[in-house]
Symmetry: C2
Amino acid sequence: MKITDRKSEIIVTAAKLFKKRGYNAVSMRDIAQELGIKAASLYNHIKSKQEILSDIVLNVAESFTNHMEQIYPQSINSIQKLEAIIQNHIDITVQKTDFLACMNNDWMHLDEENLATYLKLRNAYEASFRKILQEGIAKNELENQNSEIVIFSILTTLRALYLWYSKKSSVEVEVLKKDLPKTLLHGIVKN
Amino acid sequence: MKITDRKSEIIVTAAKLFKKRGYNAVSMRDIAQELGIKAASLYNHIKSKQEILSDIVLNVAESFTNHMEQIYPQSINSIQKLEAIIQNHIDITVQKTDFLACMNNDWMHLDEENLATYLKLRNAYEASFRKILQEGIAKNELENQNSEIVIFSILTTLRALYLWYSKKSSVEVEVLKKDLPKTLLHGIVKN
DNA sequence: GTCTATAACGCGATAGAC
DNA sequence: GTCTATCGCGTTATAGAC
């Protein structure tokens, strides 16, 4: 996250606090204090606390959507697409850890309009993921397992990567990039 | 969740609301209204809002611990132990959906003392899980993959099952019990 | 066991001085 | 752009009547 102006600075700071304690447990006074100013001063840069949340959540959601729109139409097989998606989740986890955590934990606190936008993006993402799986099954590249269970299982793990990443050093990210696709796609039991 | 007295009734009702909106977004007035009484009346049965949260979280955490202590020492192989653990997560998801969601989402809002208790239970659970994996690798039953990644991946999926369960009918739980162990343990790619 | 009334406090947000 | 002061409201929790 490059910080270009005061508004970005506020949003990045808020995301860090939201990740740690959750949207509702963080006050405007907390965010201001972290920046060394008073809560009232925040309102020269942002409209409301809700605006901070929606900026954070929709920023990450659009990152995922953009990548999926780029990968989905490519002429590579389903396994290569799934590997590219896993890589992208790892990349976003590393680059936007706090934003991602905030999206995962606090999306339900968006106001009506932004909630609808977020859910539309998320549903479209899952629909593309589902099609990739079904394409892989049709072409005999993947086992014919219950698609909903596979989507749930893989996406849940990928979405929660930030929990794991927070605890590990950046060196181990290379291990993650190498081993996670194996674990998710090939399982852990010996043949 | 069998409701035996007024206190249980309050806790079950609170868990349902906490699951939907999160601990901090639910007020004592909300809980009371759901029960058809006034907020002040709740305090005849419970000490504080914190007490409701810790009762919920520690109840589920202890369920997991008890099952692990029962499975861990058994004379069955590592794959059978992992299958038993997966079954147990599905069972608790079905039997205590709201409590489980609350534990997953709101454990960080526990007060200092209960937080320490919860973390101790969770760490012990993960340690047992880790030992089962390592035992399986040593006996050549499991692939020699990075244990931390496997623990993270499987436990994250199992902990989030309540999200999936809420959307599906109870008939599909049978599908889940049959297919989830396959997906988690054997992967999705054709050999 | 539930009620009304209220204490004590923190919240998001605004007005207006500098 | 940041400040002080403040509004109006919601929060957990308690006191005391019934």
